[in-house]
């Protein structure tokens, strides 16, 4: 049994209180009873003396020893007297029993007056009370009283204990035990018995039941809520985890808070790195285009609107190609929060490379690797649009091979291709990288010379090109051919402010060369619509 149970506590308290009461009252009543009993005995002795007083007085008066002896014998018959004595003057005329060797009390004496003269004291009657017997009786009586009292108190305490147990402790213990076994949510309730309907225990049970009901309702509500939240969370986590797009959160302009597996897969960062501990700016550690990425993040934070771009990552593809992602940065969370930015990136590498390939395909001549017609026209447009009037001189060189048809017809297409490739290489070598070299037709080439500062410089380049063609080209193993070319030149902006007129005027200059014997260059002359300057 639990030593700290209510029942034990109540029992101990009642028992202790009863014991205390019994002890104190017994003590008191013992004393009282003892004294009472003792006084009774004393009085008994006195009364005894009074009984024999007259006779004793007669005996003393007459000095009659027989009578005196009878009196003391009679007295000594009493238990409470151990001895008696009648004296006349100094003479003992009757004695019975003996005085104890060390009497605890003085003998009880009674003066005897003459039977015929109330004034005269004729003798003295003395008795020795039986002190030990008196005390014994007093003790016995007191003890009986005390024991009776104790028994009574014990019975009352027991009754109180039983009643308290029956009416309070047991119901409380039951209540406590039932409540202890109830787990909120299991639907358990405390039964209210008719015995306690209306009293405090019944009220307590009712209140507990009401409380349980409320708690269960709240728990159920919370459970459903949690269930819904879990469902949502599972869904969202699924989206987050399984997404092929990298999703991440950054704060303070670049510190990574969290990210999904796809992000780590794409960027190659370690997922083990605890979130928020990265001191490195995400823009620097992840993107090759770190400046652009950083500015996009700032932009999203400042404007509060999403910003996106195609960016290159530091981690390249397995085959060594650059990895491209399309990245959208948008502000996340409330405005109060310090600029948390949500980022989504998805891999656009394949698309990016396909785009580049198709662009290259569109811009280059497959045979020679030079720019094609479309490309050079775009470049021409760009040059014209980029440059304002001022520092914007450039030259357009139109080149046509002189004996290409002959070589093609004589040695075949392979030989012709070989010639074209060789010419293309030569041209590419003779001009600067920033200059555009394009093949725009079967044997027609177009050169755009940037920064063609003056006419002399253009002429010098054109002459260098012509000179280079004196070297024969191996059209077939063992067969060398020299292929000349005719070059028509138009200058921007003198000879045209648009691609069309520049082409047209270069073309006119070139036909001028063709007509006058080939293997030369000519610069367009607007005065008579013929080329004026001719090179050899």
């Amino acid at each position: 049994m639990n030593i700290r149970s209510l029942h034990i506590k109540v029992s101990l308290s009642v028992a202790t209180a009863a014991l205390l009461v019994v002890a104190l009252s017994s003590q008191y009543f013992y004393q009282h009873s003892y004294q009472q009993s003792f006084a009774d005995s004393e009085r008994s002795v006195q009364q005894l003396l009074e009984t024999v007083r007259a006779t004793a007085a007669i005996a003393a008066y007459v000095g009659n020893r027989e009578l005196a002896q009878q009196v003391v014998d009679g007295l000594a018959q009493n238990d409470i007297v151990t001895g008696a004595r009648i004296t006349v003057g100094n003479e003992v005329i009757g004695q019975q029993g003996k005085a104890p060797p060390n009497p605890r009390r003085a003998p009880v004496t009674l003066a005897l007056y003459g039977p015929f003269d109330e004034e005269e004291i004729v003798g003295e009657l003395a008795v020795m009370p039986n002190s030990s017997l008196i005390e014994l009786r007093a003790r016995d009586s007191a003890m009986a009283t005390a024991i009776g009292l104790a028994a009574q108190a014990a019975v009352v305490a027991l009754l109180v204990l039983i009643l308290v147990y029956w009416m309070m402790t047991r119901p409380l213990v039951n209540l406590s035990g039932r409540l202890h076994r109830i787990t909120p949510g299991d639907g358990g309730r405390i039964p209210v018995t008719g015995l306690h309907r209306g009293d405090e225990i019944g009220q307590l049970s009712g209140d507990i039941n009401a409380l349980l009901h409320t708690v269960e309702a709240m728990l159920e509500e919370e459970r459903q809520l949690r269930h819904r939240v879990e469902l949502l969370e599972t869904r969202f986590r699924g989206i987050f985890e399984d997404s092929s797009a990298g999703i991440f959160l950054v704060r303070d302009g670049g510190l990574l808070i969290t990210a999904n597996p796809a992000f780590f897969r794409l960027t190659g960062l370690s997922e083990q790195q605890p979130a928020g501990s990265g001191h490195e700016n995400l823009a620097n550690s992840v993107f090759l285009d770190s400046l652009e990425a950083g500015s996009l993040i700032q932009l999203a934070a400042v404007t509060g609107r999403p910003h996106s771009a195609d960016l290159r990552l530091r981690q390249s593809m397995a085959d060594g190609r650059e990895r491209w992602v399309h990245c959208i940065f948008s502000p996340a969370g409330s405005r109060q929060q310090t600029a948390t930015i949500e980022g989504v990136m998805y891999d656009v590498t394949e698309r990016k490379h396909a785009e580049r390939r198709s662009r290259e395909l569109a811009e280059t001549d497959t045979l020679t690797g030079l720019s094609n017609r479309q490309s050079v026209e775009d470049a021409l447009h760009t040059l014209i649009n980029q440059r304002g009037p001022g520092d914007n001189r450039f030259a357009v060189l139109l080149i046509d091979l002189d004996r290409f048809k002959f070589i093609n017809d004589t040695y075949g297409h392979d030989a012709g291709d070989r010639v074209l490739v060789a010419i293309a290489q030569r041209l590419r070598k003779l001009v600067r990288d920033s200059d555009v070299v394009a093949r725009i037709g079967g044997d027609e080439f177009l050169l755009l010379l940037n920064h063609a500062g003056n006419l002399q410089m253009v002429q010098r380049i054109a002459q260098k090109i012509l000179d280079a063609q004196q070297v024969p080209i191996a059209v077939q193993p063992g067969v060398l051919e020299v292929v000349g070319m005719s070059i028509g030149i138009a200058l921007y902006p003198e000879h045209g402010d648009n691609p069309l007129s520049l082409r047209k005027h270069a073309d006119q200059a070139m036909y001028q060369v063709k007509r006058s014997g080939k293997n030369r260059f000519a610069i367009y002359d607007p005065s008579h619509d013929h080329s004026i300057s001719q090179g050899e």
Partner: protein
Amino acid sequence: MSRLLLILLLWLPASAFGTDIVVVVHASNPLTQLQQKQVVDLFMGRASSFPNGAPARTFDWNAGLPLRELFYKSLTGKSEAQVDAYWATLVFAGRMSPPQQFPSDQAIIDAVAKDPSAIAYVPAQPLPKGVKVVMELSPTP
């Protein structure tokens, strides 16, 4: 003599109904006067001798006589019944006996006259030579 008798007759009722009582002893007794206490001690058995040391014998009247009642009442303040009870107590204890009793004053006077140690009480009257008065008792009203 007739006159004396007359006086006696006149006096008798008086003595019988509360007249003086005299305590008498043998004429040869050297005592002339006894205190009431001494008389009480003698009659109640405490003293068995006269104050001078001579032995004493008390003579009483028969129980039930008015004089006896009167005497003890006057002498001790006790009733005759109390006195009888007193003697009964002493007699029962043994060795003590109450005074010898006589039926009339003549018998008592004769007995006193014959006994030198005697002491008795009689109504106050002229007494023969053999006895003498040692105390007079005036009955309480």
